[in-house]
């Protein structure tokens, strides 16, 4: 694959290293000449000095034949414009953007860049799992955001508590993939009965999340959970 990485900070550096060692062709673009000089020994021709949003630079690195552009600068607006220019001017099939401020993530999705990585949000969701304050948690998005995997904690007061899977009204494109009960993993069948304390792992589309949440947990306010 030919991957273009924009931004030679820590993320760009380690990403380029990994991709090169796996045998991919990579060009790393970095604005700061002294940073480029620092990394020249490591990357040789794979690192180029320039602004990844300038047409001339994009042409020089052969963006038209890139398979993926990864924008990992420290500025969200730069990352967004790199991805948009790559899409529109060079038809690069895939763009991945780092989002520094998690509040900006929806903007990327609105403006045509669905594949984003907001490390703050990811770490936060790990913390949330740790303190078990979330009854319902989005774990990850797959297929460029078209599929989401979620975890729902069933309590005594949940709509789905003590009901069989087949009796729970789920939307069309939604699967209860696993039930975690007392740290064991169960594969649910239609006659599996959900119990308070279960964590249900579901796979659905983002749009069906609300229906799923209501079917499993109900729309009543969450009961206080006992800490496990």
């Amino acid at each position: 694959m030919y991957v273009i990485v924009v931004g030679a900070g820590k993320v760009g550096y380690h990403l380029t290293h990994t991709l090169l060692s796996e045998g991919h062709e990579v060009t790393l673009i970095e604005k700061d000449a002294s940073r480029v000089a620092e990394l020249a020994a490591d990357f040789g021709e794979s690192i180029v000095a320039g602004d990844g949003c300038e047409m001339r630079v994009m042409q020089d690195v052969g963006m038209n034949r890139a398979d993926i552009v990864v924008a990992v600068t420290g500025h969200d607006e730069d990352n967004l414009v790199v991805c948009q220019m790559a899409q529109r001017q060079f038809s690069v099939p895939r763009q991945i953007a780092r989002v520094n401020n998690p509040k900006n993530e929806p903007i990327f999705h609105l403006l045509g860049v669905p594949e984003t990585v907001a490390s703050t949000r990811i770490i936060y969701s790990l913390i949330e799992q740790e303190v078990e304050s979330g009854e319902y948690l989005l774990l990850t998005a797959l297929k460029r955001g078209k599929i989401v995997v979620t975890a729902a904690d069933v309590t005594a007061g949940s709509a789905g508590a003590n009901r069989m899977v087949k009796d729970i009204h789920l939307a069309g494109d939604c699967v209860l993939a696993a039930i975690i009960r007392d740290d064991h993993i169960l594969l649910p069948s239609g006659t599996t009965r959900l119990e308070p304390g279960d964590t249900v792992i579901a796979v659905s589309t983002p749009e069906d999340q609300q229906v799923l949440r209501e079917a499993l947990l109900g729309s009543a306010p969450p009961a206080t959970r006992a800490k496990r």
Binding site: E54, M55, V81, L111
Partner: protein, 156 residues
Amino acid sequence: MRVVILGCGRVGSTLAAMLTKEGHHVCVIDRDQTAFEKAVQRLGPDFTRETVRGVGIDEATLLQAGIEEADVFVSVTSGDNTNIVAAQIARHKFHVPKVFVRVYDPIRAQAYREAGIETVCTTTIGAGVFHDMLLGRPLRGLQEYIDDVAPHVGQQ
């Protein structure tokens, strides 16, 4: 008209002053408080009705500046990408009827103009004006300066 201007530099503050004098409701956003102070020194305290200190692509800042009621959004910060992103937020998220941005890079100006954002490329216009002046030619209309550069833009 209710106008939100992002960027209180020379252009932003001058534009704000013109519109305020004409009776429009102007709010200027800048991330740097000293930008407002300098504008007051240059133009007087009434150059704008309101100011908001904050980052232009931040939703809370835009809301505070009244983007939901805005008729016009103008982005003239010193950063092309900030202007481009802020304009798209104003257009696609807040549906502001009129959106204008200054973009220094002629190529990005053209690229985003083609995507429906009204961009003003002061680089092209400025260079064109100087060019005509030093060759002793009469000055021309803005569109001609833009068209001069356009053939060179987007060559891939």
